[in-house]
């Protein structure tokens, strides 16, 4: 059942990414629409970035997106590497390694999403 579980959550993560990264794309790359960019100008201006950091909804979406994207991407990498035919011992070690890398990156990313908010940076 384990591979079925991995794959099913991989598909669910894909849906999550579709929604939240889709929103991220609209915010960052369809700036003509001005979504979540109150200051105007470049989307990466500090004012716009600080606004998004303070916004609870967006912080939540960033964390969900981070988790889903890390899971989806690392599972995809695992599939591609496994199809190159490594030994069973390598497969087990690689899976554990990917879990560790994924969780560490998730921790880093979540901290940076929340820390910016708690540092109360002025708009």
């Amino acid at each position: 059942m384990r591979e079925t579980a991995y794959w099913t959550w991989f598909i669910i993560a894909a849906f999550v990414i579709l929604i939240f990264a889709g929103l991220h794309m609209v915010v960052m790359h369809l700036s003509v629409l001005g979504v979540f960019n109150p200051e105007g100008g470049a989307v990466t201006n500090w004012g716009n970035v600080a606004f998004r950091s303070q916004n609870q909804f967006l912080a939540f979406t960033y964390i969900i997106l981070l988790g889903a994207a890390l899971y989806h991407g690392l599972y995809g990498l695992r599939t591609i590497v496994f199809e190159l035919g490594p030994k069973k011992s390598f497969q087990d070690t690689f899976t554990v390694l990917l879990w560790i890398v994924g969780l560490v990156l998730f921790a880093i990313g979540t901290y940076s999403a929340i820390a910016a908010k708690s540092l109360e940076l002025a708009l």
């Binding site: 059942m1 591979e3 079925t4 579980a5 991995y6 794959w7 099913t8 598909i11 599939t79 496994f82 199809e83 190159l84 035919g85 497969q91």
Partner: protein, 273 residues
Amino acid sequence: MEKGTNITVFIRRFDPEKDAAPRQQQYTLQVERGMTVLDGLHMIKQTQDPTINFRFSCRMGVCGSCGMMINGVPGLACNTQILDVTTTALTLAPLPNFNLIRDLVPDLVPMFGVIKGLQPYIQRSDVAEMENPTMEYFQTPHQLEEFLQFTYCIKCGSCMAACPTMATDKEYLGPAPITQAYRYNTDSRDDAGDARKDLVAASHGIFNCHYAGECSNVCPKGVDPARAIQLMKKDLVLRYFGLGKRKCAHLCKKPDKSLYKPKIEAAPFTVGK
């Protein structure tokens, strides 16, 4: 009488006793309309080079022996017309993604082993009935249609040769075995769905299919393994969420007495004894 077309035939040769790796050998062939690749091979073997090796049997597309690469695409030699493929150069090579025994002969035994490992036979929990049947199992034409397409597989190996995952992953089950597992799981008379699903959903199993679709493109019998594999993924996801259980086909009821015709009287005399 139509004049034949002169074509060049490149055949990949490999003699394990002499060659380190396969090499190509060139022949010319006079091709008439209607000549299949298998006919062409026989012609070359009889008139030019008796040392060529290739598998064949039924010569009518039902045994699956003559699978080979014909101008870069896997197919059956016996039901591919040469002039449909080319009018100038025909390149023949053994099916890739199998070990090569000799010339155009791949080693298909591992594929048969994988298919056998997925229990390609009806299994039921009522073992006594299975061993000593008393009655038919009830199955509607609709239930038959759900898996009929996948019974046409002749185990030729063309799908395995076309599959990109098979190219690198030697442990991958492959389109043909997974399709046969789905065929038996979907057969309403069978009850061993869970066992086969566990085997198919293992590592290097069904989830290493990514729908390149080449297996269905090259299948010479229209089995459409790609469809079977995706339908099986759906079944596996449903099982993961505890849904989609189905009941096994029951035995037909014996007709009760009222349906019997009234007793027919014996004839007044019989011829002979």
